[in-house]
């Protein structure tokens, strides 16, 4: 089973909840797909069992000895990545048009390293994450690779997604059985929730909504519940604001390991509910 934890809006509590669920479901595989702001690994001290370089797409390189400075490459580049016969790697998308139009064969494309993929054996289960190069593109393909790597391990995959609705999120929903969408009772939260729910409709995935810090604005929480009811989407839990969450992030321990944490209790409950729901949909 693959559970993707997503949100639309950033900072609603995806990682805290993903870690809590991963802590509850024994032997789970934690897949950190929030590749450009990955935080899951901070909670674990595991043994690294593999490291592989990940390349995605290519970048163009100009051989200055061969370049005759005709400017055709610059004129054909749709990404404004060439200036004075130099490639701006942050802008180059590796399409290969410059190499195609170059009359002196001065431009070659070479594969582009995007990240190191690291896998860890943990006390309980496994962790897969990427150390992504700062400013790199290709996060969609990287995430697809992380999910693929997870397949070799037995166990429930818990995918911590990134905010937004673009390629990273699309890659994190693909192949998921359940999309747990974490929202907060703010106008921004509701707006973003609607957009991500719209996105999940285009996938064969069961969306479940969790309202985090629901008691910060009860009216807004009720609006979310009404919206979900109207659209026949289950609100799986309402988690209260809980000071233990900050403690959990600062001490880097799963929120579910704090016996007095109300949020922790709710997240254990969510994990159990998800397992039951999955059993039902499988049948």
């Amino acid at each position: 089973m693959n559970i993707s934890v997503l949100s639309g809006k950033g900072g609603t509590g995806k990682t805290t909840i993903a870690i809590g669920i991963a802590d509850t479901i024994k032997g789970s595989i934690k897949v950190d797909c929030d590749v450009d702001a990955a935080n899951m690994h901070m909670f674990y001290k595991g043994m690294q069992i593999s490291s592989e370089e990940f390349f995605s797409g290519e970048k163009a390189y100009i051989d200055t000895n061969k370049c005759i400075k005709c400017g055709r490459c610059k004129n054909s580049c749709k990404f404004d990545a060439i200036e004075n016969s130099k490639i701006d790697f942050l802008k180059c998308e590796g399409c290969g048009v410059c190499s195609l139009v170059c009359p002196s064969n001065a431009i070659v494309l070479s594969k582009n390293k995007v990240a190191n993929i690291l896998e860890y054996k943990l006390e309980d289960g496994y962790l897969i994450k990427a150390d992504m190069e700062i400013g790199a593109d290709g996060s969609g393909r990287l995430i697809t690779k992380l999910r693929d790597n997870a397949k070799k391990y037995e166990g429930v995959n818990i995918i911590d997604g990134s905010p937004g609705i673009g390629c990273s999120v699309i890659a994190s929903i693909t192949g998921a059985d359940i999309a747990l969408i974490v929202t907060e009772p703010t106008l921004s939260g509701i707006d973003d929730l609607k957009r991500i729910l719209e996105l999940t409709k285009t996938f064969n995935v069961l969306p479940l909504v969790c309202i985090n810090k629901y008691d910060i604005n009860l009216d807004m929480s009720q609006n979310i519940e009404e919206y979900c009811n109207e659209n026949k989407i289950q609100v799986i839990s309402k988690i209260p604001y809980d000071k233990f969450v900050l403690k959990s992030i600062n001490e880097l321990k799963p929120i579910t390991s704090y016996k007095d944490s109300e949020a922790g209790r709710k997240i254990i409950e969510i994990s159990e509910k998800i397992l039951n729901i999955y059993e039902k949909i499988k049948k």
Binding site: S7, G8, K9, G10, G11, T12, T15, V35, D36, A37, N39, M42, G57, E58, S76, K78, F79, L90, E93, G94, C95, G96, V97, L100, V101, L109, M132, I134, G135, A136, D137, S139, G140, S162, P163, G164, I165, G166, C167, S168, V169, I170, E184, P185, T186, L187, S188, D191, D192, R195, E198, L199, T202, I216, N217, M220, L246, I249, N250, L252
Partner: protein, 274 residues
């Protein structure tokens, strides 16, 4: 002058800082978090103009196509695929590079417009507001970001960025003269701030940090900043009232006690960058 407000980690207060700052400074507001833009909730501009964002995607004339498959060989994004009897087009994967038309010897490829998003422009009390909105289901936000930021005027523009440190943020930073990095004093906030700092440094622009949800004046972020000689432009206390006002879509500078935060931020920005 374009100042971008970014963060690394999501939900640290980019929109809180940029919308209140815009209102206080009477600057223009540009919401470049095109996957999930929220700034208009707070600024409530009257929208005067809506512009479609279009990209060029290939269209193949079946009568002219001789099935040489040079185009599918060339496309590095798998937007064109070879099947036994024709070329299939996956337009969501297309980067609009123009290469397939160049390699086609039979003049069988034309480009057609495809709508991927929308730009909305309007104004609030005395300042201009614009935002981009990526169509749901479209994977690539960059064309919307580029269109949104392509014709900014010379006045003070505050750009509300998307979270993260990948291509969306890179493209926003291409248009910035200075950056404000908003973060929170938690392990997550610090970890992701460090990545954002490394990204901004690649662009050689001045930047400073704003710490949000502060419970102690000396915290892991201020320590990090002093170690790395990064200026802390301001700190916003953790305050339940702010969370409540934010949840309702209200600007916090409407309350006297928060006005001073933005007064101080504004004068520091003016002194440093304007």
């Amino acid at each position: 002058m374009n100042i971008v407000v970014l963060s690394g980690k999501g939900g640290t207060g980019k929109t809180l800082v940029s919308t209140n700052l815009v209102k206080y400074m009477k600057a223009n507001y540009i919401d470049a978090d095109v996957e999930e833009p929220n700034g208009f909730i707070f600024l409530k501009p009257a929208i005067k103009e809506k512009i479609d964002v279009k990209v060029k995607v290939p269209f193949i004339d079946k009568d002219k196509c001789k099935k040489c498959f040079k185009c599918t060989e060339f496309c590095r994004f798998n937007a064109l695929a070879k099947t036994s009897d024709k070329v299939l087009i996956f337009d969501k994967l297309c980067h609009s590079c123009g290469g397939c038309k160049i390699v086609c010897k039979f003049d069988a490829i034309e480009y057609v417009d495809k709508k991927v998003g929308i730009i909305e422009k309007g104004h609030s009390e005395g300042f201009k507001c614009s935002r981009g909105l990526l169509n749901i289901g479209e994977p690539m936000a960059v064309p919307v970001i580029k269109e949104l930021l392509s014709n900014l005027g010379g006045e003070l523009n505050i750009i509300d960025s998307s979270p993260g440190t990948s291509c969306n943020v890179v493209n926003i930073l291409e248009h910035a003269d200075a950056a404000i990095l908003v973060t929170e004093p938690t392990n997550f906030g610090l970890h992701d701030l460090d990545r954002a700092v490394k990204l901004v440094k690649k662009f050689n622009m001045p930047f400073a940090v704003v710490v949000n949800r502060v419970t102690e004046k000396y915290n892991i972020i201020t320590k990090y900043c002093s170690r790395n000689k990064i200026e802390v432009l301001g700190q916003i206390d953790y305050d339940k009232d702010i969370a409540i006002m934010y949840s309702r879509g209200e600007l916090i500078i409407n309350k006297e006690k928060y006005l001073n935060i933005f007064k101080a931020l504004s004068s520091k920005i003016k002194e440093k960058w304007l």
